[in-house]
Amino acid sequence: MRKLLWRISKLSEILWRGLRAWSGDSAYENYLRSRAVRAAGCPPLSRKEFYVQQLNRRYSRPNRCC
């Protein structure tokens, strides 16, 4: 029983992480973890700056199809 509960909680955790990644909810955390940010000497963008920049980049190329 305990093993089953453990498996369910593990699966929920994976699904939740996947949902956050798919929706863009965890995009900022991923940005902070990226190699480019870690390697750069200057401070990373704030959450607000990152959000707006990200949207402007995404919607300047075809990203939704017919």
Binding site: R17, G18, L19, R20, A21, W22, S23, G24, D25, S26, A27, Y28, N30, Y31, L32, R33, S34, R35, A36, V37, R47, K48, F50, Y51, V52, Q53, Q54, L55, N56, R57, R58, Y59, S60, R61, P62, N63, R64, C65, C66
Partner: protein, 696 residues
């Protein structure tokens, strides 16, 4: 032992799929159950994925998991983000699945369920999936370059220019035609118009929330947004029941067209965080949720298919759109089988996020199989309703008549029994004044979906809620395509204009933003207006035009793919991309020729214009209607010109590519491949489980 078991399992899956195919192809007489469609499609997809995509991966592309992908080379946390393959599959699917796979099969159901279903499955397995997969591979090997850049580098400069123009053309026609689908779904419907109108303040509210209150917290904002959307779907009924409010939201086709044009302009010119992005978040959640719900509904309800396998309209006299099953079934169903637009996504965001080359198989080939399944579900929903009702909803008034009695008489005369009371009763049950003459596919799909959903939850009591939920779902993501497409079109216009006058290319320069937005909105708005005033319903002219443009882009993508593979020396299996390319060229050229020159005025643009001109000359058109008739003549000639230009572009590109291929194969030219040099990955196998990034 393991191998023997695997062979047995796959032979069994193949046999079940063949039985499903046999059932839908050979069944006559009593109504066929929709489960056969799911079985046939599901088993074919499994076998195709297991065998054909694995053959392409190993023999044609030779995918190499030891090679670093663009996401590893550039890992900047913005564009280049290494992403878990299942998350990226979700991203890619959400990006490629738009209104096309829902609307196209619904329209093609006028031929019966068989031609469209076969094309959806076979076209996807051998055409659409191959295109998406190979272009994704080519782009991964070129640091995520776009289709236009690859066409310029690998085919010729002219090829690159053609690709760029084709993208802009398809964008304009696509936006015009999908806007027309929304107009036909919303006209004279206060409930649906209110629901969609309310999605704008909801999106604005979420935009402000995500920008100022909780930046980037997409999940919590989307949860609030979806709850508000469900509320406004229910509240729409109160608006429709209130005479004064119903009057405010009852709009004609022309008024709706101007409202949508104004919306498109605002969405393109306003900051992206305010309206476009939050609407896109809502649309993505609703889209994925409704798609899975429809699949579950079909499996639970397993409705009987009422439409015959083939109707009399395979001869080209169909009321929804004119033209024979060849080539028009293959033009009408573009998305769901082969869609050139997908190549923009496969050479856009996705190649920059892929973790390993081997994942391209699941993401490129697998996501397109999923989209094809969405198309099959739309076909099931359209064919599960009574054929008479289907034709009454989708036929223009000029063919079946404007009243329930006239429509019932005409459609019953075709051999599809229908009573006026059925249409009146159905309209009442879904909370509409009328369901007649709503060409475009969205309302009939909504009726089909509502019937499936209401048989699962709520029964007839909730039919009207489900119908308006389905309309909201379709209209919401059509508007998302509209505003995202208008914005991208604006950037393209600015880039092209910048070649003539440099300041125009500055994307932050307000006069440039306003002028380019006006140009792009004016272009698709013209096609929309033309469709709204067309007595044949607009869809008859514009949907084939969109299909031709979309297949043109698919032909461009497959020409680029074939050229790259030839340069790589993969000549033995070149038929994998060459055969679908040749098929698309044949289909597109035949359809273009017929749309321009066919003597039937309902089919040929020029003969329609000439017939109209002859009527004016013979004095058969009242003086008050002459200006309108002349506008129709101009529109038909314009459509003929656009079709001719698209066809000419295909011919130029094919000739250009043939010259290049001959030179490579005869070894007169040393092929120059613009691949990024090999770099060995530094990420250990299994690293994909750790990283689950995403920028979307």
């Amino acid at each position: 032992m393991k191998r023997a078991l695997s062979i047995i399992v796959w032979v069994a899956v193949g046999a079940v799929g063949a039985a499903g195919f046999g059932a839908i192809a050979l069944h006559r007489g009593e109504h066929l159950n929709a489960v056969w469609f799911v079985i046939a499609a599901g088993c074919c997809y499994l076998v195709a994925y297991r065998l054909y995509s694995s053959f392409i991966s190993a023999k044609l592309l030779a995918l190499d998991d030891t090679r670093a992908t663009p996401a590893e080379r550039h890992d900047d946390g913005r564009d280049f983000v290494p992403t878990n393959k299942w998350v990226l599959l979700g991203h890619h699917f959400a990006a490629i699945a738009g209104p096309g796979p829902l609307v196209g099969p619904t329209l093609a159901a006028q031929f019966g369920y068989l031609p469209g279903t076969l094309w959806l499955i076979v076209g996807a397995v051998f055409g659409g999936c191959v295109q998406d997969f190979v272009i994704l591979f080519c782009s991964i090997r070129r640091d995520g370059k776009s289709l236009g850049e690859m066409a310029r580098e690998e085919v010729s400069k002219r090829g690159g220019f053609i690709a760029q123009i084709a993208v802009l053309a398809i964008m304009i026609i696509l936006l015009g035609v999908v806007a027309l689908v929304v107009v036909n779904a919303l006209k004279s419907s206060p409930w649906a118009t209110f629901t969609l109108a309310m999605s704008i303040p909801i999106a604005l509210l979420l935009g402000l929330y995500l920008r100022f209150l909780r930046p980037g917290r997409v999940l919590e904002a989307s949860t609030i947004g979806v709850a508000l959307l469900v509320f406004v779907v229910v509240a729409g009924q109160w608006v429709a029941d209130s005479p004064s409010w119903a009057r405010v939201f009852t709009m004609s086709g022309v008024s709706l067209a101007f409202a949508i044009i104004a919306y498109g302009f605002a969405a393109s010119a306003l900051p992206v965080w305010l309206l476009l992005a939050p609407r896109d978040y809502l649309s993505a959640f609703i889209k994925v949720g409704a798609t899975f719900s429809l699949a579950a509904g079909i499996l639970l309800v397993h409705p009987a298919i009422q439409m015959p396998a083939l109707t009399r309209f395979v001869d080209g006299t169909g009321p929804v759109f004119s033209g024979k099953v060849f080539p028009f079934c293959f033009i009408t169903i573009a998305c769901g089988a082969v869609s050139g637009f997908h190549s923009l996504i496969s050479s856009g965001t996705t190649p920059k996020m892929i973790l390993r080359e081997g994942h391209a198989r699941l993401i490129g080939y697998g996501a397109m199989l999923m989209e094809s399944f969405v198309g099959v579900m739309a076909m099931v929903a359209a064919c599960a309703m009574t054929p008479g009702v289907y034709f009454a909803i989708n036929s223009p008034a000029s063919i079946v008549g404007a009243t329930p009695e006239a429509a019932a008489g005409t459609i019953s005369g075709w051999g599809f029994p229908l009573s006026a009371g059925t249409m009146t009763g159905l309209a009442h049950a879904v909370g509409e004044h009328t369901l007649l003459n709503r060409a475009g596919g969205a309302p009939s799909l909504a009726v089909g979906m509502a019937q499936i959903f209401s048989n699962t939850i709520g029964g007839d009591r909730l039919l009207s809620i489900w119908y308006h939920f389905a309309i909201m779902f379709e209209a919401l993501f059509i508007l998302t395509v509209l505003d995202a497409g208008t914005r991208v079109g604006r950037f393209m216009v600015q880039e092209l204009g910048g070649r003539v006058w440099k300041p125009f290319a500055r994307t932050a320069w307000m006069p440039g933003i306003l002028l380019s937005s006006a140009l792009i909105v004016g272009a698709w708005g013209y096609f929309l207006y033309q469709g709204v005033i067309d007595p044949l319903g607009g869809i008859n002219s514009l949907w084939p035009l969109f299909g031709i443009a979309n297949q043109l882009l698919a032909a461009v993508a497959l020409v680029v793919a074939t050229t790259i593979l030839l340069k790589m020396g993969r000549t033995r299996w070149i038929g994998v991309t060459l055969v679908p390319m040749a098929w698309l060229v044949i289909v597109t050229m035949t359809a273009s020729w017929q749309k321009i020159f066919h003597p039937d005025p309902r089919l040929g643009f020029l003969s329609y214009a000439n017939a109209m001109a002859a009527q004016i000359a013979a004095g058969k058109i009242p003086a008050a209607k002459i200006a309108e008739a002349q506008r129709l003549i101009f529109n038909q000639r314009l459509d003929a010109l656009v079709t001719a230009v698209l066809a000419l572009m295909i011919l130029v590109l094919v000739v250009e590519a043939l010259l290049q291929w001959t030179a490579i194969l005869s070894r007169r030219r040393v092929p120059v491949l613009h691949e990024t040099p090999y770099l060995r990955t530094r990420w250990a196998p299994g690293a994909e489980g750790v990283s689950a990034g995403g920028d979307d």
